[in-house]
C-alpha cells in the first residue's frame, strides 16, 4: 500500500464526516472522487422544462457535450504518445500507449484480462450491494428514530473513523484471504457514505411537510413512504454514487494486500515484476470501470430526479 492510494481514503472519509454540511460534502466528495478516477461529473439537468423558443446555446448541444468531454482525454493521450516516443522520458518510466495496448492484448490472449476485470467488478458490485443495503437500513433507523440515533450514532461514528486499511489484517485473520474478507472490506467502504447521508437527509426532511403529512392522518410507515422517502431520494442516489466510488477504492485496497487475481492484484504483481505497462493498464482500466459504473448510477439519478424532485 502506497501513500498515494492511502491519501484518498482519508480525504473521502473526512468529507463524509461533516454531516452538518451534508449536501456540500456529498457534492464535494463525489466530485473529488470522480475526478480522482479521471471522470467528470455530469451535472443534473435543470429542473423544469428547458426554455423554449430561445436559440439553444452551444453548451446545451449534445454533440458539444460529448466532444467537449473528450477533449482533455484525447489531449492527454497525444501528449503521452509524444513524450514517450520522443525519448523525453525513458520507457521504463513511461511506456508508450502502444505498449500498454499490447500489454492489454497479451493479457487478454492469456485469458487473464477478462478474468481480472470480471472478478474485480463482481467484488465491487457484491460488496457495494451489501454495504449500501445495510447503509440504507441503518441510516433510516438512525435518521427516523431519535432512540436509534442516540444508541447507534456514537459507535458508528467511531467505527467510521477507523481507516479502511486498519481492517485488513483483522479481516484476513477472521475470514481468510478468500472472497469473504475482500467483500466485507468493500461493504464497509460502501456502508458509511450511504449510512451518513441517508441518516442526515432523513433528519433534515422539511418539518413543514412532515407536519402537513401528519395533519392529514399519515403516521409511521405511511408517512415514511409518502413524505420522508420521496424527500430523500435525491440524497440517497448521491449517497449510492459516492458509495460506489468508495467501493472501487476499497477494492484496490483489498486486492493490493491479499489476492491472486483482480485489478489490484495486477497492480501489485506488476509492481513487483517491474511491468510498468501493466501498471498503466490497471490504472486506466480502473478509471474506465469506475466511470462506467458511475455513469450507470448517473442515468438512474437523472430518471429519479425527473420523477421525484
Amino acid at each position: 500500500m502506497t501513500d498515494a492510494s492511502h491519501g484518498p481514503v482519508i480525504t473521502t472519509g473526512a468529507l463524509v464526516h461533516e454531516s452538518d454540511a451534508i449536501r456540500v460534502a456529498v457534492n464535494g466528495a463525489t466530485t473529488s472522487v470522480a475526478a480522482g478516477r479521471g471522470a467528470s461529473v455530469t451535472p443534473a439537468p435543470p429542473a423544469g422544462p428547458a426554455g423554449t423558443g430561445a436559440r439553444r446555446r452551444l453548451v446545451d448541444r449534445r454533440w458539444f457535450v460529448i466532444v467537449g468531454g473528450a477533449i482533455i482525454p484525447v489531449a492527454l493521450l497525444l501528449t503521452w504518445q509524444l513524450v514517450s516516443t520522443s525519448g523525453l522520458v525513458p520507457v521504463s518510466m513511461l511506456p508508450s500507449p502502444e505498449m500498454v495496448w499490447l500489454a492489454a492484448v497479451d493479457l487478454a490472449q492469456r485469458g487473464l484480462l477478462g478474468l481480472y476485470v470480471a472478478i474485480s467488478t463482481q467484488r465491487v458490485f457484491i460488496g457495494f450491494a451489501i454495504g449500501a443495503a445495510f447503509g440504507l437500513a441503518v441510516g433510516a433507523l438512525v435518521g427516523l428514530s431519535r432512540l436509534g440515533d442516540i444508541l447507534l450514532s456514537p459507535t458508528l461514528g467511531a467505527i467510521r473513523a477507523v481507516p479502511s486499511l486498519a481492517w485488513v489484517p483483522l479481516l484476513i485473520l477472521w475470514f481468510g484471504i478468500a472472497e469473504d474478507s475482500k467483500i466485507i472490506l468493500i461493504a464497509i467502504g460502501a456502508f458509511f457514505p450511504v449510512y451518513t447521508i441517508v441518516a442526515a437527509a432523513l433528519r433534515h426532511v422539511d418539518p413543514h411537510l412532515l407536519e402537513a403529512g401528519r395533519a392529514f392522518g399519515l403516521r409511521g410507515f405511511r408517512l415514511f413512504t409518502a413524505v420522508q422517502l420521496p424527500a430523500v431520494v435525491p440524497s440517497v442516489i448521491s449517497a449510492l454514487r459516492l458509495a460506489l466510488a468508495q467501493a472501487w477504492l476499497f477494492l484496490v485496497a483489498a486486492e493490493l494486500i491479499a489476492s491472486s487475481m483482480g485489478l489490484g492484484f495486477l497492480l501489485v504483481d506488476s509492481g513487483n515484476n517491474g511491468r510498468i505497462d501493466r501498471i498503466f493498464l490497471a490504472i486506466i482500466l480502473l478509471a474506465i470501470l469506475g466511470k462506467l459504473t458511475d455513469a450507470l448510477v448517473g442515468l438512474f439519478e437523472r430518471w429519479a430526479v425527473r420523477k421525484w424532485a
Binding site: A47, H208, E211, F216, A226
Partner: protein, 324 residues
C-alpha cells in the same frame, strides 16, 4: 327544522343583522346542518356525491399555552375562552407573534395546550384530530406529487379508489384547478398552490376547517379572489371555519365574528381583547361604511392609529360593543 324554514330563518336574519348572533348561539349542530344543506341547494352546487360531514361546534375553554425557553417558561396564550357554533366562520386577528397560529394549532390537535381544553363537538381534540383539516400559511404541497395526488393526500383513509378520484376531481373543479390536475406544484402559481392546499384540506371532509393565514403570502388581487373562493367553498362544503389572519379587511369580509387577540398590560400571554360580530350577510360590500367603522375599531385594537383625530374626525364608533 326543514330546509325551507332554515332559508326563511336566514332570510329574516338578513333583515336584522344583529339578530344573527342570537340565532347562531342558540342553534344546534342539527339545525346548522339543515341550514347548510339549504345553502348548498341555494348555490346550486351538488354535494350529494360527497358524504359531507356535518359542521361541528368548537369550544376552547381556558386555553393557555406556555413554551419552555432558556429563561423559564414563556406564556404565549392565557385564559382563552371561545365558543364557536357549527358552521360559523370566526377570524382570529392579532399582532404578529401574539399566538394566533398557536391557538389554531391547539384547535386542530397539532399542539397541546398547557392549560385548559379544546373540544370539537363536545369531545376533546385528539392529536392531529381527524375531524379537522388545516390549511397552512404556505401551501406545503409534496413537490413530487401532481396537484391531483396532493389533493388526494387529504382523503380519509377509508375512501375507495374510485370514490377518491371522483372526490378529487370535484374539489379541483370547485377551486378551479381541473385543468391543472396533472401539474406539479412547482409548475403552478402561488395562488394555485394555495387553492390546491385548500382543496386538500376539504378532501378530508372536515367538520372544522382551520386556516392559518392561508392567503397571507398572496398578492392583493389574488387574495381578494381567494376570499371570494373561500366563501363559495364554505357555501358548498359547510364547515366550521377558524381563520387566522393579520388582514383586518379579510377578517371583516369573511367572518361572522372577529376575535381580537392582544396583550393586557403587565401580564404575560395574549388574551381575547375584543370580539366583534360582523353585521350583514356574505358576500359583503367591501366599501360599506359600517365595515369601515369596524375596521377602524379593529385597527385601534391592534394599536394602529388611523390618523382620524388629526383631521378632526370622531374616533368613537356608533356600533355598540359585543355582547349587545
Amino acid at each position: 327544522m326543514t330546509a325551507a324554514s332554515a332559508i326563511a330563518r336566514d332570510a329574516s336574519a338578513a333583515g336584522r343583522a344583529n339578530a344573527e348572533t342570537a340565532a347562531k348561539s342558540s342553534s344546534t349542530a342539527a339545525t346548522r346542518t339543515s341550514a347548510a344543506d339549504a345553502a348548498t341547494a341555494a348555490t346550486g352546487t351538488t354535494t350529494a356525491a360527497s358524504s359531507s360531514a356535518a359542521a361541528a361546534p368548537v369550544s376552547l375553554r381556558g386555553i393557555g399555552r406556555a413554551f419552555a425557553s432558556q429563561s423559564g417558561d414563556r406564556q404565549v396564550l392565557r385564559d382563552i375562552d371561545l365558543e364557536i357554533a357549527a358552521g360559523e366562520i370566526v377570524a382570529i386577528l392579532g399582532p404578529s407573534g401574539c399566538g394566533k397560529s398557536t391557538l389554531l394549532r391547539i384547535a386542530g390537535g397539532l399542539d397541546q395546550p398547557t392549560q385548559g381544553e379544546a373540544l370539537i363537538d363536545g369531545e376533546a381534540v385528539k392529536p392531529f384530530d381527524p375531524r379537522s383539516a388545516v390549511g397552512f400559511q404556505e401551501p406545503r404541497l409534496l413537490p413530487w406529487r401532481t396537484i391531483a395526488d396532493n389533493v388526494a393526500l387529504g382523503l380519509p383513509r377509508s375512501t375507495s379508489r374510485a370514490a377518491g378520484r371522483e372526490q378529487v376531481a370535484r374539489l379541483l373543479d370547485l377551486v378551479g384547478l381541473a385543468e391543472f390536475a396533472g401539474h406539479r406544484p412547482r409548475e403552478v402559481s402561488g395562488g394555485m398552490a394555495q387553492r390546491t392546499s385548500l382543496a386538500r384540506a376539504l378532501a378530508r371532509n372536515p367538520a372544522v376547517l382551520l386556516l392559518d393565514e392561508p392567503f397571507g403570502a398572496l398578492d392583493a388581487l389574488t387574495r381578494l379572489k381567494m376570499q371570494d373562493l373561500l366563501l363559495d367553498v364554505h357555501a358548498a362544503e359547510p364547515a366550521t371555519v377558524l381563520l387566522v389572519t393579520h388582514d383586518v379587511d379579510e377578517a371583516l369580509q369573511l367572518a361572522d365574528r372577529v376575535i381580537l387577540l392582544g396583550h393586557e398590560p403587565e401580564t404575560p400571554g395574549a388574551v381575547v381583547t375584543q370580539t366583534i360580530v360582523v353585521p350583514g350577510h356574505r358576500p359583503r360590500d367591501r366599501g360599506s361604511a359600517e365595515l369601515a367603522e369596524l375596521r377602524a375599531r379593529l385597527l385601534d385594537g391592534l394599536g394602529i392609529d388611523r390618523h382620524g383625530s388629526a383631521r378632526g374626525i370622531e374616533t368613537t364608533t356608533t356600533i355598540p360593543h359585543y355582547p349587545y
